[in-house]
Point group: D2
């Protein structure tokens, strides 16, 4: 039997300081989650998982952490019905068991996530890819009770059209139209025409953090993100679909700031029942077609503060 | 003195086969190239460098390769005038000296490259970033003579507007305009208005491969790439500049295929004097704002074939 | 109905040159391939797919390409038994149907690939991740017949120990041991002890290109890559397993060149029945723990040449 | 003159909520900072910069942000002596001027950073690359006064050897040595020999956050990170250097946890004079050669807490 003698993980370290997070990053798994009456969810999640380390302990028993992830992945695969949203919390609980010295455990997960979509005019069905994000933090209180907060979210690509550039194009075209149109006809033309603007891929992200027992539907989050941009995007677009996407998007131009505000408004409506201390992170990053850099907006707030701001 | 005894690099390998490329990847350097009467070029290049290995040799003397890169970088920094375009060829020559067993040496380099630009209306000067690409391959012939082919190129971001989506928007808007405009006025409106389309960041790449003694100006390549898209992009755009970029781009919609064809046409004009066997690689990749995937086009051809195709 | 009028894809382009590759990059799908009597293979492949474009055609009908990918992915999901190795060839055939003007079609695919492994001592089963790579090129000959070459490969992480550094450590330790041991005892000690060296993650890649009707087992390729390094790696290692991995690896030190030579030797044995013009690409990249850059080796050769070099 | 009419940035948004951060990401610049009596520092920094947005404002005047970055980069280039450590704070001040509605401004910067090193035995000088990290947050208080906190840090690659795997190898070798050596000689051998372990690239990161007027030397941070691993790495290593690096590293094995504890101990010593509320983030990530995933440790603490833990 091979043993590890002097300088084991359980020794006292020479420098007796507490460490915030010790663990592993980049553990990749394949996971099939069966659901009642729905197609199973297939994920290829990448996990990061950490425990804190007391100042009296030299090292974490590192192998217990990938072991915890593996065990939960195996267990969940056997269930008749499993929820993606509780996966990280399950791993947290398993790690709190295995690392008896830990008081704080954190597990984070990101995975490509496939959802189906229909093209806007020709109704062709296509696979689309977003990202599912989840994490959970477990605290072992002094009385040994465990409280877990979990966070569910998603990241989705959509299309954003800039309102201000569109407005400036409209103004220049208007001054040229007035050279041969009367004002009244000109106004009718301005209301009819779809004016150009710069548009680009936008990436919207929403993360909602709640106590363990609350349930958040990841697909609802994807809908909120998609519907807060100028238009969703779609992998299979025939000519009529492409036209619909472009025209709809240009009738719905949004600043990067608008995306974030709209996501918050929809989140408050959809998740109004959640506790006031629910932490909501919303983020939008647009890959501006007129620049090499991106435009970015973010809001981090509790549901309670959000309701106050919106007088709800 | 520490020596490496059995199993040295110069031994015969157990499996006597020739290896195509052996070396290092990801060697990063800082390099300032002084130029006569121009501002120095500052690069942070990343180098990959390889030699071939005869079937009679177990290993390459690996440290000689980063050594060759280092020495050339140091030497070039002392020159009153140095050219980025010959950097890789210099390293190839140095490596052929150090690796006396090698018959084929290859060095590749990529670096961020800063060039200045003026915004289209307000003339504000700004730093812009592209990528400079270079490589060189040296062959040691049987008579010990050395022939080197080098390749210079660049990769630049610009803006592309889709002609077909714009056409479809124009058609839909036209049918709506005809509800209250006569045909003649409608045509005038269609000629005046800037119709929407999907647009996005496009990434153009050009690589031109020539014998060692030929000179290719990297900045000329950057100009060719930028001017083959719907519009260049710019980091500092005030409101009038943004308007100009959007309107110019929409007056110059291009398919991803057009970008590649245009780059080739400009290359033939600009570099017409080069030998017929000059290898030209042109590539365009557009980050389609209506999709999650990109559109891509590429042409690889000799200058001679290109001239034939264009009847030049 | 929305039509695209002037400047359609089928028009003649202003610059009449042939384009080598036009298509899409980064199309991501979820795919479950059922197999007879084995667990299904689940993949999240990313596809790039291209057609060539004649000089008489302005644009490819871009949407037909993601459409082809989608259709094959849907069809393959219904089969009782499907092979990953023919996926790209199926898409090539579909694209040759849809793009009647194309003479050359190319499809490339990369996907994370899960395989099971047992830890060397404690026999714990764990999920491991490699990458599966596949591509196919279809040529439509003048007589309308189609010839397809396909390429199957994989990329896997393993552990590599440097022989030369180990030899130098052995020499230094030997000179220190001889200060208090006689030569004979010293030799026995040298044969017993596991001397240090620098070791690191190595990434091995193998691609084998064959005519369409040949079958290559992706998992066989993964075995060849893993067994050509100093040791495979494993996600779940308890103390005895970690010790076994380290000791085995240090008893099997390999130069980056050795990994490539060994992979070739094993490929010739395993795939000896393939045609002589089978193209074999083998690559090894080690993330050297003593450097910021990587060591790299590669061989590209036909099976016929390889057999000649090895006198087989 | 082109103006932007309805829906301008200064309008009231439909959804009146405050946004935490609005701005740009990925702005890349080239920057030469002259220093008195030292070689200039050349950086290719990438900036992210944000302002907060009051609930009464629809959009930030987005172009002012890249403008602020550009202006500071231009100004700093003219100075006879400029400090990298105050770059972000300068941009924050400029942005607080330009965005009069903002109460919180944040600027982040990362850049490759070149430092010189000598190989341990042959004293060859080589360029090495690390990353310099800086950020600054400015708050405009109610009385219009501005308080700025800045953060300086670095990220460096080094080599880490695992103590526990080395211990297990030592134990196995010891049991084999005892088959032919007496205990006393065996102990002498165990003290002399350099036993194997798994080793790998480790990436250490330190971030120190202080009030604006404090000065932190980025190069001191790089030294602390490098000296907290088993050994620094070096780009140019001849045989004797490689041997020295490997042997020194194996005489100094460290857990990922040790790296973080050691960095904290050195930071307390080096920066003891800083205020107690100085926030210190230390992070280590090792690319374990026996796994596909990484080992990770982190501590976030104030200097005051750290001093308490260490009884200083």
């Amino acid at each position: 039997m091979v043993v590890c003698l002097p300088d084991t993980q359980d020794d006292e370290p020479r420098i007796p300081i507490h460490l915030s997070r010790v663990g592993v990053t980049g553990v990749k798994k394949l996971l099939t989650l069966k659901r009642k009456e729905k197609r199973p969810i297939i994920l290829l999640p990448t996990f990061d998982a950490f425990v804190d380390l007391p100042s009296t302990q030299k090292g974490t028993h590192m192998s217990r952490t990938p072991e915890a992830i593996s065990e939960v992945v195996d267990e969940v695969a056997t269930l008749a019905s499993a929820s993606v949203e509780s996966l990280c919390a399950d791993i947290v609980n398993k790690m709190l068991e295995k690392h008896e010295y830990a008081k704080r455990v954190e597990v984070r997960m990101t995975s490509d996530y496939m959802f189906m979509k229909e093209s806007p005019v020709t109704d062709n069905k296509s696979q689309e890819m977003g990202k599912l994000i989840a994490n959970a933090v477990g605290i072992r209180e002094d009385d040994e009770s465990i409280s877990i907060r979990k966070c569910i979210g998603a990241e989705v690509i959509g299309m954003t059209v800039c309102p201000c550039a569109q407005e400036s194009v409209r103004e220049v075209d208007k001054s040229n139209l007035l050279k041969f149109l009367d004002e009244e006809t000109c106004e009718k033309v301005l209301d009819t025409v779809t004016f150009a603007s710069h548009n680009q891929r936008g990436i919207g992200t929403v993360l909602i953090e709640v106590p363990e027992n609350e349930y958040i539907d990841g697909e609802k989050i994807i809908e909120i993100i998609e519907s807060s941009m100028s238009s969703p995007v779609c992998e299979l677009l025939k000519r009529p679909d492409e036209n619909a996407v472009v025209m709809n998007a240009h009738q719905n131009p949004v600043f990067v700031e608008d995306c974030v505000r709209t996501m918050n408004e929809k989140i408050v409506k959809e998740f109004s029942h959640l506790p006031n201390d629910t932490l909501i992170t919303t983020r939008q990053e647009n890959q501006e077609s007129i620049h090499r850099h991106n435009a970015f907006a973010e809001k981090v707030s509790t549901l309670g503060s959000l309701k106050e701001e919106l007088n709800l």
